[in-house]
Subunit: 482 residues, 2 copies
Amino acid sequence: MSSQSVTPRSVDYSRWYTDVIQKAELADYAPVRGCMIIRPYGYELWEGVRSGLDRRFKATGHQNAYFPLFIPMSFLQKEAEHVEGFAPELAVVTHGGGKELEEPLVVRPTSETVIGHAYANWIQSYRDLPVLINQWANVVRWELRTRLFLRTMEFLWQEGHTAHATYEEAHEETLRMLDVYADFAINDAAIPVIRGRKSDQERFAGAVYSYSIEAMMGDRRALQAGTSHNLGQNFAKAFDIKYLDRDNELKYCWTTSWGLSTRMVGAVVMAHGDDKGLRLPPVLAPYQVVAVPIYRDDAERSAVMPTVEKVVAELRDAGVRVHVDDRAELTPGFKFNDWEMRGVPLRAEIGPKDVEKGTVALVRRDIDDRKQAKLFAPQAGIAQTVPALLGEIQASLLGQATAFRDAHLRVVDTYDDFKAVIEAGDWALAYYDGSAAVEDQIKADTGGASSRCFPLDQEPGEGACIVTGKKVAERAWFARAY
Amino acid sequence: MSSQSVTPRSVDYSRWYTDVIQKAELADYAPVRGCMIIRPYGYELWEGVRSGLDRRFKATGHQNAYFPLFIPMSFLQKEAEHVEGFAPELAVVTHGGGKELEEPLVVRPTSETVIGHAYANWIQSYRDLPVLINQWANVVRWELRTRLFLRTMEFLWQEGHTAHATYEEAHEETLRMLDVYADFAINDAAIPVIRGRKSDQERFAGAVYSYSIEAMMGDRRALQAGTSHNLGQNFAKAFDIKYLDRDNELKYCWTTSWGLSTRMVGAVVMAHGDDKGLRLPPVLAPYQVVAVPIYRDDAERSAVMPTVEKVVAELRDAGVRVHVDDRAELTPGFKFNDWEMRGVPLRAEIGPKDVEKGTVALVRRDIDDRKQAKLFAPQAGIAQTVPALLGEIQASLLGQATAFRDAHLRVVDTYDDFKAVIEAGDWALAYYDGSAAVEDQIKADTGGASSRCFPLDQEPGEGACIVTGKKVAERAWFARAY
């Protein structure tokens, strides 16, 4: 049983996050430093992410497969930028079956190399293209500074890997999957995100262009919540992925990759939570409704439970995920706080008076004001009322997150304004020449703000880079980030 | 595109298996020896296994979670039998982030230890029990002799881990999950299995009792297709998993574990396949129906396709998984062979005459005789005809596998009969004293037959151990096995 109170978010955001993850039993620390145990409540949230994405991947023509955990060290070395980027983060198996291995094996940090090797075998002709495959897997990156869900040594994710006949098709795929991520984030996770292109120095190691969705957390920091990469022919050349084209010429394929991880669970916690704990969007919430029977003695309990069971059965038939909290040893007040902390979108209280009046007291988690949050719904028609309310709550969380974000997005034209905006903790959209030198200077001048992305949704324009004054065509978002 | 013909099963069972796995594109070899790539068609079959089991686990009160891939070496050493059993099979990470680790990390071969450690933290009181958790994960065992799906260095599986207040509850859980496996094998995979207790020397390393479901493959060899272990208090004592009981005393928990892996995909291939390739049970088949439009020219194609689309749409609305093979460059004959090799349970052919007559030609994969396999169904009512036929095919495959198995199960009372039965390739049920010495002698005398299990479904009795003549109470199944 979890203790109820978490450090209020307004007091210490970082401690609040750690508290709420552990007290809501989303996750726990593992014995190996930097690793995480995903507990059932957190895993069910991840299953919601997984099914929302998987459905969208299948609807866009992708199939799932599974590639091996172990990659020969030599594979990583075939793509120069790739090995340079990932070498410092590798976990290496040197012994197997009691013997030292001839070639060390890398525990996959990502699978472009081993999948590229397979694609080279599978793809012969233009008829075999496109190849549209995704895998759900664990990956390992040796991170020194870890934080539950946001950055862990091992994490769960999906990685899509596709091969195409032309650059244009690969480019379209890269943006299509970025849109899939944005659609999922907005409609399922209720998190408004900005789609954009990463700067060169923030590119995936081995990509030509990397794109991301960027989300604003409750402390206004940015979180990169999903990435999609146009890999050009870099991996095709490194792994000899060729096809015989209609014109009877052998050509290199164009490939993409895209990934979204358990980090998304951290995003949901940070984007929606409040002082009392989690606030989960109904689409992803493991329990959409918690039903709490209210009684003082066995007689009242006997009077109340048949109604509770009837209401719950009707809701379940309507496809609503309901949990009944009938723990005998706890007071209703304790239960209310407990489930508020755990972020269940809607609480259904049923007591003797509700039985008498034919009502259910419904309390919304998305509204802070106690009176406004509560309504009495007739038991008749509850299977229509509750799904409609869940829809409202979903929209309300997205609305709140969007209003909060928009209040902290600022367009700036001078470096002084830029620094003031970052200093105030907001995001700044500014003309930027895309260079590493400018980004490094900004990081130094602002105590760590980084370029998030060149947003896709911007008017074509021209302006002066806020640092160098050079004429450039695009603005980029800058912010402090996780 | 896959070549169509496989080595006939009747010619060379072992080559047939490897051929069919690769040509049906279920799996491929990975660059690291002993590892496997599960291709989309094979992965979809695994997703069918996964969802069939997951549904049953949830219906019996279990929740999913995720525990770390890496386990400190010292954890394995806490349970003496466990480390002795698994030490020779471990993959060991010695370097991370460019540095040698102070303590080597084991890539999990199974997770009793790391989960036991977590349970010790989570369980305080009798109120926290039972803990009923399952995880879907990859595990690594350094196998020297591997075979696609049946035995690979890395494999996918689920491992359930539960903790209980009493021995009786743990015992019940162990048998309940064995029954879940048997129910899945029989009803979803159409494989009749024998539930039983393993001999002491075949026990899981660290278990008090191990149980398995044993299946007969098409070459009559046995395959252990799922296991369920009563771990007693062995891991509770090694990891200090205790609870405060109602009587205010601290007591050790009783734990269980149970697992079923991608080996089940190999079982489906081997139990049902024939000379032409796979025969997939409709419940698990990625495609239950393949629709092949029949036409000789564009005019016929235009006449046929609207009917194909209409029939397919009706089937999909009825929840049938249909694939339309409209590859222009291939003949219908090629497609028929291709999908027969891939084991699709039902083929729907629609040509100009079918359009005219309002029929669909349906061809069952479970019936070998070409005439008997084919029937003409009216297009009207196809959404009822096809699901009913799929049900018949599912039952027919189970019936065929059961008849085949039962024809090769033999009860014997003398060692001479026993050896003759094993020599003939069948399974022998015989009184056996359970000792390692007898099992070793049987292995030597028969060229490798091993005890499969003491079947749960046997009448209480008494007889003479076929080797020692000692009076014993139970018979065990012996067979050559994978």
